[in-house]
Symmetry: C2
Subunit: 269 residues, 2 copies
């Protein structure tokens, strides 16, 4: 029997070189305008930490800084446990290529405990994904073709009209469907096209500089999502002279708030 | 003439040991339950990067990870420019003490340009700080005494009553009054007591693990705030089995959104 690796698993597949050093390879399927989709680089970092023999617990927080584009070709991921506490562990990570450092990251992994818990945020109202048209305009970049996207609000602008709102809400899952895991959830936290496109009604130069994702579930809770759609919603609070922020939520269809995520994005006019 | 250094300036005062190495000293005024107030450690990191001769631009993003308590005494801050681009610069930073690494951080500094800008978020409604009682219950920890705090909503619980909302909004400024700069704004982004105290109506063990702040103004815009109060508002989206998130805004009284900030916090029952 021949099994074909899912394109996402190929994109984050890492060779283990020992002592926290891994080597991956960019794939054309996950190409962005320049270099690969930032979400897949973040996912490869999560996968590298998950693969480390000293790792305890599961992702709680991740910050990824995009210093320079990752060129097509091999890349090294170096991860290091900076501190191991009783119930959490702090990591630092770097992605390097021949031309130098492309990405820095820090992460917190941890063990969850059965203490008082509550979801205070409210899931956005949205019709079922099956009732929404599939996005007929494919995204402007290859990586978007790896996702089924059904926009509820704030789809990619198709005509030059400004919007007063930067909010985008969409049902999204990997294409072909794939069980949701932390690597996939990490990539989904960067699945939104730049908010400035929506406000200005057109594409313009923009790129994530730093992405922070907080995970609110453990692997067992995440596994319950299976291959179903998640509801992803994002907005910007301020566009400030070349840098805007984005704040996002990723919800399971069953109303579980899986992750919240924030980023700062560079833009030009 | 003798001038006395402001307690905040003393707390982030750094000796320059050359090549990105600085040494600071904890002060009793900024003590927290265990170790110093996390906001002042973050501020010292910003100050170290600002002091580096290779630094270009001003703070755009900062992530600080709290690995272990900083003990009373000296601490070393080591900062490194990981990459300098045309209009932004990526930094990594570490805080070390004799017992080891206590803090890791990454930061983006950048230059702002006069391009299309907009504030989409809405400033919370609040009566003027002068019309609100000063908080009569001093905070439970020394560092809080360095701030004038006038709570609009969600003050520190004084009786054991649960709250359905985790939102706290307060007018706050340094005490004694001090001109707002990036170091002070950084510390203010961590000025909120833990959201879980408000929801549960009591204090319980809780501590910030990772703090991310996005800055939306340059130094000139920040300077316009002078020594005035800022309006700081924070809420949690999910309390998830030992870790909750907090998302916050810091507004100038003139309606300028100065910073947005996010953190993940460890809590126990």
């Amino acid at each position: 029997m021949t099994t074909t690796l899912h394109a996402f698993d190929s994109a984050i597949s890492l060779a283990d070189n020992g002592t926290g050093r891994y080597t991956g390879q960019t794939t054309p399927e996950f190409a962005n305008m320049v270099g690969p989709f930032g979400g897949v680089t973040a996912a490869a970092i999560v996968r590298a930490i998950e693969s480390h023999p000293d790792r305890i617990g599961e992702p709680v927080a991740l910050t990824v800084n995009y210093l320079a584009p990752v060129n097509d070709g091999p890349f090294d991921v170096v991860v290091r446990a900076a501190r191991t506490n009783r119930t959490n562990q702090h990591w630092t990570a770097e992605v390097r290529q021949e031309h130098g450092l492309t990405t820095t990251a820090t992460a917190v992994f941890g063990v969850r405990r059965d203490v008082w818990s509550d979801t205070e945020a409210t899931m956005p109202e949205a019709p079922d994904p099956e009732s929404l048209l599939h996005t007929t305009v494919p995204g402007p970049v290859p990586w978007m073709r790896n996702y089924d996207m059904h926009y509820v609000e704030g789809g990619v602008p198709t005509e030059p009209a400004e919007s007063a709102s930067s909010t985008t809400t969409l049902w999204v899952r990997q294409r072909p469907a794939r069980e949701l895991d932390f690597a996939a959830l990490t990539a989904l936290s960067d699945v939104f096209y730049p908010r400035v496109f929506l406000r200005r009604g057109r594409m313009l130069p923009a790129g994530t500089i730093s992405l922070t994702t907080y995970f609110h579930v453990d692997g067992a809770e995440l596994g319950k999502q299976g291959t179903d759609y998640v509801l992803a919603s994002a907005l910007a609070q301020r566009f400030a002279r070349g840098y805007f922020d984005q704040t996002a939520q990723i919800w399971g269809r069953d109303g579980t708030l899986l992750a919240t995520s924030h980023q700062i994005v560079y833009y030009k006019e």
